[in-house]
Each structure stands twice: as structure tokens, then as C-alpha cells.
């Protein structure tokens, strides 16, 4: 299985709704988490003896903790309006990858144990025992959901399948069933403070390297007096910047890190990274664990207090910004020591856009003239956060930054951007090699939309503000016959366009 080459769908520029193919993506599943990861996170070390009983008890507990779960299990009318909206259904044709099909896997167990009709009538009421077979399907299909909320836009009641797959993953963990990829990463954050398990010294080395690179690049252009720093663990800095750890070394992520650094340099605002809170990402959300998410986030609260900063800014990362924007205040707030005149926390795009608006940055658009740029709205940012004061600022602000840095910008078709954006196909724990099949197929709608603007406008730069999107697309583009060099960050464009030094 692993070695087979996966055929990517043909790039035609059209997104077609497939006919159903039951079981089409059943074979694509995650490696299971082993004892070390599960116990490290405080879960049973393997599938427990009485798992069915335990799982049902956990379900009962969650039904009383999450309004969304209880309500959304009750009120779906199976109208199917969401069915053709999920990229994983569009890519695979597997009806259990439709949002409603996915929900039904949960709902039939819920009916069996928690509704009078299901208890009395069983199958006739659409209820089913929680059998091993059902559990197997749970493991597959609830891990095929990237929690992107595209279905939620379509649903007449706002039913959010992400809420249900998070609950399913939490239930599975409670009986000792998790994925290696996600659980290993959460454990790394518990132990080292970042998803990659990087030690402070390794981060520091990488930052030093970046500083040298930037200095050399400027010196080559004959600019000798510019020395952009990437400070870490500086007590008393104005701003604490928390970035996804991929920004420290992965490509193209690192280019955006240079962009952030140059923006701070030019703005003259003192800032720092933290080696203790060296990760913006928070995979606790992926497994639906409130406590896990809180524990991961608590490192940021600690860093804010230790470094005595006044402002808190988040780097380019989709789910991280959702958690920061929507959940931090609940999880680790209130942030009494921070300066209330600024949003807490603030997205790096809000930060940069603010400076642009005030005329504090000089941007040379011609530096990006070799690019025709399009922008992918990361689903977590598009549908679960806001930037600026106006609803929809999360769409306008990144685009405004790009337009301030580039002469050539074009949007992909309307039905594939903004609140209708497709997921990259790699979110919520899919970004691992064994899931390549569904990652490639799930990326299909986005790739078709991109193909349209490549053909019509010659787009050659695909701008992103999400670490997972960047990693996913650099892997996926070659499968579709596109160059991974097209993939980059919004602050990568800023980094190229920004003119440093005193204003004349």
C-alpha cells in the first residue's frame, strides 16, 4: 500500500461531483498511536477490554458538556445540502466522506444508546450497536475530516461536522485509540514546547543562520548597515511573537519568518520569540481534547508572564490562529498584563496591515514582479476567526497585504475562496505520509480552482498563511505536475518587497 504510486486526479479546472463509491477510501488509514504516546497523553495504553461500555459512557459525558454535539446529533434532517461540499467526498466519492455520512456514523450509535426510538426500535430507527466494525469505520472516517467547517456553511442549521469528529476522536482516545502522527506531536509539545521536538539550542542555531543569511543578502546588494535580528527569550520586549515551529526551519515557511523579522525591524518595535512557547500550533484541538488544548496553550500564557511582554502576535498558521483567536481567552485568559489597546492576540497579518495603513512600511512592488499571485484562504482562518474590526477582515487583510507587495494578484473562482474556501486536504492530522492518498484526492478541488487561474492568468505564486497548508501543498503540487516552488507565504512576499532603512 505505502509504496504504490497514487494517481492524482487530472487537472481540468473543473470540480465535478462524483457518483457515490461506497468504501472507496476505507483503506486509507492512520498508523495507530502506540503505548508510549497514549500513556504520555494520559490515555489507556491500548484498546481497553470493555471499550464499548467505556465509549458509551464517554459519549454520555460529552453530550452534557457540548451543546453543539447534542444539538447537531438531534436536528440533522439528512437533506444532503452539505454532502457535495466536502473536499474529501469530492475527491474520493466515498459517501461516508460526505459530512452527513460521516455524522451518521456517530449518530447511529448515539441513537442506539441515547434515544428512546433507537433503544426501542433499533435498526428501524436508524440505530446500530457500537460494534467493532463500527469502531473501525469511526477510526477511518473521523480521521478523514480536516475539521474545515465547509459543511457548516452549507447546512441550513449550521451543523458543524468538525464538532462531531472532534468528539469522536476524544471518545476513541478515552478507550485507547489514537493516531500516531497527532499523538506523538502533542507529546512533543508537552515535553519540548514545540511540534518538532526542537531544543532551544537548535532553534537558536536556526535563527542565527537566518540572521546571517539576511545580512549577507543585503551586503550583496551593497547595503551594509542593515542587521535584522530574530530575538529569542528577550525579557521586557514589547511583542511576543508565537509562530508555528515549522517556521524555524522548513521551506517555504522560513521565508515568512524573515518577513516577520523585517516588519518588526522596520517598525522599530522590540519583539521576541520564546523558546518555552516555541509553537503556535495546537494539535489538542484535532483530538477534541479541551484539557490537551489547554495544556498546550498554557505555555503561551506562561511565556507572556515570564517575558513581561505587552503584546501577543501569532505567525502564519491556520488552526493555531483559530485556537488563539477563538479559544485562548477561554483557555488561558484573561490576559491582564497585556496592553488592551491592541487585539489579544493579534494576527501577524493584522500587525503588518496596520503598519502599511499608517504608512510605516515602504514596499517595492516591483520586487515581486516575476510573480502572478493568488491567495488560498486557509479554512480555519476563513471560517473560524476574524482579522480587524469588520466581519470578513480575514479575507480582506491578507489580500490587501499581498496587493501592497505585488503588482499582479488574481483571485481563484468565487465559489472556492473566502467562506467557501476548500481545505488544502492536509488539516487536522492528515499531514502524514500514510494518508497521502486522501491528501492528494482531498486537495483536488483546490487544485482545479488553481488550475483555472493558472490557465487564465498565468498564476505562478500560491500565497498561504498556514504552516500545514504550506507543508501539504509543497508535497501535493508535484503529484499534480506543478512546481512546489509556487508555494509560499504572504510574509514571504512582504519580505521580498519591504525596503529597510531610514525613510528619505
Amino acid at each position: 500500500m505505502a509504496k504504490e504510486k497514487i494517481e492524482a486526479p487530472k487537472l481540468t479546472g473543473k470540480i465535478e461531483t462524483p457518483r457515490i463509491q461506497p468504501g472507496a477510501s476505507l483503506a486509507c488509514q492512520h498508523h495507530k498511536a502506540n503505548e508510549q504516546f497514549l500513556t504520555g497523553l494520559g490515555y489507556p495504553s491500548s484498546l481497553v477490554e470493555n471499550w464499548q461500555e467505556k465509549a458509551i459512557a464517554k459519549m454520555g459525558e460529552l453530550l452534557n458538556k457540548y451543546k453543539s454535539l447534542k444539538l447537531y446529533l438531534d436536528i440533522c434532517v439528512r437533506c444532503g445540502a452539505c454532502a457535495d461540499k466536502c473536499q474529501f467526498y469530492l475527491g474520493t466519492g466515498d459517501p461516508k466522506n460526505t459530512p452527513v455520512g460521516r455524522q451518521e456514523l456517530f449518530r447511529k450509535v448515539y441513537r442506539r444508546y441515547f434515544t428512546p426510538a433507537g433503544k426501542l426500535l433499533g435498526n428501524l430507527a436508524g440505530a446500530e450497536d457500537f460494534t467493532e466494525e463500527v469502531l473501525k469505520e469511526w477510526y477511518v472516517y473521523f480521521h478523514h475530516c480536516s475539521q474545515c467547517r465547509r459543511c457548516c456553511v452549507a447546512c441550513p442549521y449550521g451543523i458543524d461536522t468538525a464538532e462531531i469528529s472532534m468528539a469522536a476522536r476524544e471518545i476513541m482516545h478515552s478507550i485507547g485509540l489514537g493516531t500516531k502522527y497527532v499523538d506523538e506531536i502533542i507529546l512533543k509539545v508537552f515535553n519540548f514546547g514545540n511540534n518538532l521536538g526542537m531544543q532551544p539550542k537548535a532553534i537558536k542555531n536556526s535563527l542565527d543562520f537566518c540572521e546571517d543569511e539576511m545580512k549577507e543578502a543585503y551586503e550583496e546588494k551593497g547595503i551594509m548597515d542593515i542587521d535584522v535580528k530574530i530575538p529569542m527569550d528577550v525579557e521586557g520586549a514589547e511583542v511576543l511573537l508565537v509562530v508555528p515551529s515549522a517556521d524555524f526551519f522548513a521551506s517555504p515557511h522560513i521565508e515568512s519568518l524573515l518577513g516577520y523579522a523585517k516588519v518588526f525591524y522596520q517598525a522599530g518595535i522590540s519583539w521576541t520569540l520564546s523558546s518555552y512557547a516555541s509553537e503556535a500550533g495546537n494539535f489538542g484541538m484535532f483530538i477534541g481534547s479541551y484539557d490537551g488544548m489547554q495544556k498546550v496553550a498554557s505555555r503561551i500564557g506562561q511565556a507572556v508572564r515570564d517575558l513581561k511582554v505587552k503584546r501577543l502576535v501569532i505567525g502564519e498558521c491556520g488552526h493555531a490562529y483559530r485556537i488563539a483567536y477563538s479559544f485562548w481567552n477561554t483557555l488561558i485568559g484573561p490576559f491582564d498584563t497585556l496592553d488592551k489597546r491592541y487585539p489579544i492576540p493579534q494576527h501577524i497579518c493584522e500587525f503588518t496591515y496596520d503598519l502599511i495603513k499608517r504608512g510605516a512600511l515602504r514596499l517595492d512592488k516591483e520586487a515581486n514582479d516575476e510573480f502572478v499571485v493568488t491567495y488560498h484562504d486557509s479554512c480555519n482562518i476563513a471560517r473560524a476567526t476574524r482579522m480587524g474590526d469588520m466581519p470578513g477582515g480575514q479575507f480582506e487583510i491578507p489580500r490587501s497585504i499581498i496587493k501592497a507587495c505585488c503588482n499582479k494578484f488574481v483571485d481563484m473562482p468565487q465559489e472556492t475562496i473566502r467562506e467557501n474556501t476548500f481545505c488544502c486536504g492536509g488539516g487536522a492530522g492528515l499531514l502524514t505520509d500514510e494518508m497521502m492518498d486522501i491528501r492528494i484526492k482531498g486537495a483536488m478541488p483546490r487544485m482545479q480552482a488553481l488550475k483555472q487561474v493558472i490557465d487564465s492568468h498565468g498564476v505562478n505564486f500560491f500565497a498561504l498563511i498556514c504552516a500545514i497548508c504550506k507543508a501539504q501543498f509543497t508535497k501535493i503540487f508535484p503529484a499534480y505536475g506543478l512546481s512546489m516552488d509556487m508555494v509560499g507565504g504572504v510574509h514571504q512576499l512582504v519580505s521580498r518587497a519591504i525596503v529597510l532603512g531610514a525613510k528619505e
Partner: protein, 243 residues
């Protein structure tokens, strides 16, 4: 005997309907939202949220954007449902107030149209459910059951109106008797008894079914939350740091 059983059954159904819904709604109201999850872009104030809900409930705005075919059928059916319910008011109040009388007279004049408006979308929704492969795949018996039940209610209603007319005075006496807790005998028209039985089944079934969507939608956090997590801290009542 027939009357006694039906009177008993009617009260039973009403009690189940009312308390069933109250229980469910109570649950929907008290189970907490531990986290902010509005679907953005979302309104940043209460008025905005009210507007958003009005557009969802009155015009099925999201459904309109996501599936025009379903929207059409859904809208037609729910509109008909509303009108049909309105045209039944005359059986529940005595004397009928002037404005309602006027409304009734108007509705009576287009009753054939209303009947069709009620039945046709149900047939359409049924066909669509079977026709579209992915909807057929996810449909369960309950989905067909409500459509058939409502269809039969509509059909028996139309039959009464145009074929086998019951004694309307007896019907009204019966209903008012139930309402005032001084029961009167049930009219013996077989179609009326069928119509009435089906409605009682619907009432009993309602709180335990997906029909709760009509109440549930108002509690949907992705739609009814204000987008202000940074400005206003949401407290999770079961957060370990609090309890």
C-alpha cells in the same frame, strides 16, 4: 368507546408533544458551550445575530446558497405548513375574531392551491431523496416516514375538503371540547378519524425526531454566537481551573 379512546389518546399525545419539546429545549438551553464556535464571518453584535437568524429561519439563506433544488422544495413545504396551520385556527377559537375570519375566508378561496402546495413539495422531496445517490445513501427509514406521514395528513385533509366532507360543526365542537376539558364525542367521518389519528402520531413522534430542527436551529452555536472572543471572555463552566 371510540370517543373515549380518542379523547384519552389526544390528551396523551398533547402531553407528550408539549413536555417532550419542553424537555428537549430545556436541554438545548442548559448544556454549555465550552468554547466560542461561531461560523465566521459572523456578526459582532446582538442585532447582527438576530438578523442572521431571521434570514436563516425565514428564508433558509444558507440552504439557498448551498442547494437551490432542496431550497425550493423546502421553502414551498414549510410555507404550506405555515399556511395550513393558520387555516386551522378557526377550529380552535370560538368565536373567530374578525381579522382571523377574513384570513380564513381568503385561505378558503385558495384552499385547493394550498393543498397542492403542501403535498407536491413532499412528493418532490421524497423523489429527490431517492434520486440523488448520496442523499439516498444517508437516508434512514425515519426520513421517509415523516414525508409519508405528512403526505397522508395532507391527503386526508384534501379528501375531507373535496370528497367526503365531515360535519364541520361537530369537528369544531369536538376540538373545543378537548380544549375546554369538557370532551364531546368525536365525529364519525372515517376520513376525519384518519386525519386526526395521523396528526396524533405526528405529535407523539415530533419531540423524538429530526422534526426538532424547528426548535433546535435557534440554539445552534455556529449561527447564534456573536463573533467577539477576543473582546469578551467566554467562561467554560466545566473548565478545571474554575471548578
Amino acid at each position: 368507546m371510540l370517543s373515549t379512546s380518542y379523547i384519552f389518546l389526544a390528551y396523551f399525545a398533547i402531553i407528550i408533544f408539549v413536555f417532550g419539546i419542553l424537555c428537549k429545549v430545556w436541554k438545548y438551553a442548559v448544556i454549555p458551550n465550552p468554547l466560542k464556535i461561531p461560523l465566521t464571518p459572523a456578526p459582532t453584535n446582538t442585532i447582527g445575530v438576530i438578523l442572521r437568524m431571521v434570514f436563516e429561519v425565514a428564508f433558509f439563506k444558507s440552504l439557498f446558497k448551498s442547494n437551490k433544488f432542496t431550497w425550493l422544495g423546502g421553502c414551498a413545504f414549510h410555507l404550506a405548513l405555515l399556511v395550513v396551520l393558520a387555516s386551522h385556527i378557526r377550529f380552535f377559537v370560538s368565536p373567530v375574531p374578525e381579522p382571523i375570519m377574513l384570513l380564513q375566508t381568503f385561505l378558503q378561496s385558495i384552499s385547493m392551491f394550498i393543498g397542492l402546495l403542501f403535498i407536491a413539495p413532499l412528493v418532490y422531496l421524497f423523489i429527490r431523496r431517492v434520486w440523488v445517490d448520496r442523499t439516498r445513501f444517508v437516508s434512514i427509514f425515519a426520513d421517509y416516514f415523516v414525508l409519508i406521514l405528512l403526505f397522508l395528513i395532507g391527503l386526508s385533509g384534501i379528501t375531507m375538503k373535496y370528497l367526503i366532507r365531515p360535519d364541520l360543526f361537530a369537528v369544531k365542537t369536538f376540538i373545543l371540547g378537548l380544549i375546554s376539558f369538557s370532551p364531546e364525542p368525536i365525529p364519525t367521518n372515517p376520513i376525519f378519524i384518519t386525519h386526526f389519528t395521523l396528526i396524533l402520531i405526528l405529535l407523539i413522534y415530533f419531540p423524538f425526531s429530526k422534526l426538532m430542527h424547528g426548535c433546535g436551529i435557534f440554539f445552534s452555536p455556529t449561527r447564534n454566537q456573536i463573533d467577539n472572543p477576543r473582546e469578551k471572555r467566554l467562561i467554560n463552566p466545566w473548565d478545571k481551573r474554575i471548578i
